[in-house]
Amino acid sequence: MKTIQFREAICEAMSEEMRMDESIYLIGEEVAEYNGAYKASKGMLDEFGEKRVIDAPIAELGFGGIAVGSTMTGNRPIVEYMTFNFALVGIDQIINNAAKIRQMSGGQFPCPIVFRGPTASAGQLGATHSQAFENWFANTPGLKVVVPSNPYDAKGLLKAAIRDNDPVIFMESEQMYGDKGEVPEGEYIIPLGVADIKRKGTDVTVVSFGKIIKEAYKAAEILEKEGISIEIIDLRTVRPMDTKAIIESVKKTNRLVILEEAWPFGSVATEIAYRVQEQAFDYLDAPIQRINTADTPAAYSPVLMEEWLPNAQDVIEAVKATLYVK
């Protein structure tokens, strides 16, 4: 094993796959000469040249669409959005073309493309720069949605996403790029659609994904001292969702808390709650709790951001609510 940063995991996954497959290229703002706005493509221009590591102008609709179009004539692009907030400028190409072209053409045009970049909040960046659209994309048939939470998962999942023959939305975080973790020296792949139990436990199941899962880890440490054992499931892939992993855990703990950094209305948490009540209704000993960001745009001021974002204390309270303890 070796220890690398999250950004290096992303870079290794892209570079390894690009060495093996000539049809893959990386395109996005500042990905080449600047080495990536968050240095996730460091050294890639030097290695692969400007034919395959391409600086795009600020034109998300245009370069996203060009990338989708190039899948129709044999490419397997990786599109980096500086953040997914900016992908909204080009979301038409993702939803109306990437997600549909295969089915509309009767299977003639598979769309092997990865759209990747940071999602969700990253400090006090205000309303337009703090959004999480996992549920928007996951709502769209034809797309797959992956949200890793550590370097090991990021590398293995990104390699799987690049090899996948369907369009994959791959969501990272500005606040995770510096995170360090162990990865194997050699090659490995983590299949899409498989959740991971990040912490085993017996009393309450906590399902989460992406960087906010760290609040569950913090809560678990504190709760353990109080004699409460939580099981933390990292979805890793939001669509397709590993429902089985959630149901099995809930059948064991009989209690469920969902932690998601996104607005509550029609969220991924909502979908999970629906599936669990459908498939494990008789196993539940308490109503399902969910923790989301506030049902408002993010606000700049630190005191408002604190109110808006989920934290470990919120997890502790939700866990206790499912146990009917104070």
Binding site: A37, L88, V89, Q124, G126, H129, T296
Partner: protein, 332 residues
């Protein structure tokens, strides 16, 4: 055009110096982590604002909209700089009560319409403001500013077409400071002269030496008059330069120190000061006094921001909808 007089030069000097020092102060308090998020500073580009203000009818009639490099424009248009500083501190006394932060200063009263963070997103908004003014026959003109990077967004092309088709009273300004983050202008397009994008729409257009407020004022005067006459939009490429990094976390490997120094030789504040000295509009003593006053005024802003209270948590829910008692979904 309103004559450029001794007073104009003196005011330009006072204003531009204050804007420069205000931004420098923000950089300093950012390093102390009192201001967070992104911070995009205007140093070097001041002549654009100075020139525009000379030909605008302030008080709400003429309007301005821009991107996230937006702290000093509202100040120039009459907003109390203390409130701008407080916004960056996230305090309740800020222009948006701490809701917006660095990238989102607004003051309807003063004709400043933001403060926008999605590159190119304000271009159609600017034309829309002009649409409203034309619709209501207010006689107001909108100045719609954006960067060289934003000129590559589709929003520009769609908007230019309609603004020209409907002869909207808007002046589009591209503040070409050479770079969009780390990407130089020549690396984003097959052509160098951004102003020529207007030609395809037969929109009056041209380049402006935007290190010089006189040149800016002259070009803007013609454009504003055209809009007021009902003859529609103009597109001006303001050739300028930003001295600081894109925002605070920019190592600036994409340019040389020498390049920055070259531009500082034609610094807008220095250019104006040179005229003031040549024409003996002010004595050395008076200039020193201005410098001192500016410093004090900046210090007052900092003090005000420091001492202001944070907003109440409830405020998060108070400004999303006009509707009262909106039923927000419980989130925890």
């Amino acid at each position: 055009m309103k004559e450029i007089t001794k007073e104009t030069y003196i005011n330009w000097y006072k204003d531009m110096l204050f804007w420069r020092k205000f931004e420098d102060k923000l950089a300093a308090v950012y390093i102390q982590q009192k201001v967070r998020g992104f911070l995009h500073l205007y140093n070097g580009q001041e002549a654009i604002l100075a020139g525009c203000l000379h030909v605008m009818e302030l008080g709400g009639k003429d309007k301005m909209i821009t991107a996230y490099r937006n702290h000093v424009q509202p100040i120039g248009m009459g907003v109390d700089p203390k409130r701008v500083m407080a916004e960056l501190y996230g305090k309740s006394t800020g222009t948006s009560h701490g809701m917006g932060g660095s990238m989102h200063i607004f003051s309807k009263e003063h004709g400043f319409y933001g403060g926008h963070g999605i590159v190119g997103g304000q271009i159609p908004l600017g034309a829309g403001m002009a649409f409203g003014d034309k619709y209501h026959n207010t006689g107001g003109v909108t100045i719609c500013c954006f960067g060289d990077g934003a000129a590559r967004q589709g929003s520009l092309h769609e908007t230019f077409n309609m603004a020209m088709l409907w002869k909207l009273p808007v002046v589009f300004i591209v503040e070409n400071n050479g770079y969009a983050m780390g990407t130089s202008v020549e690396r984003t397009a097959n052509h160098q002269d951004i102003w020529k994008l207007g030609l395809g729409y037969e929109m009056p257009c041209g380049p402006v030496d935007a290190m010089n407020p006189i040149k800016v004022a002259e070009a803007m005067d013609e454009a504003m008059e055209r809009a007021r006459r009902g003859d529609g939009p103009t597109f001006l490429e303001m050739k300028t330069y930003r001295y600081r990094g894109h925002s605070m976390s920019d190592a600036q490997h994409y340019r040389t120190k020498e390049e920055v120094e070259e531009y500082k030789k034609i610094d807008p504040i220095t250019q104006v000061l040179d005229i003031i000295k040549e024409e003996k509009y002010l004595t050395d003593e008076e200039i020193k006094q201005i410098d001192k006053d500016v410093k004090n005024k900046v210090a007052e802003c900092e003090k005000f921001a420091e001492e202001s209270p944070y907003p109440d948590k409830q405020q998060l829910y108070d400004m999303v909808y006009e509707q009262e008692n909106y039923p927000f979904v419980k989130h925890k």
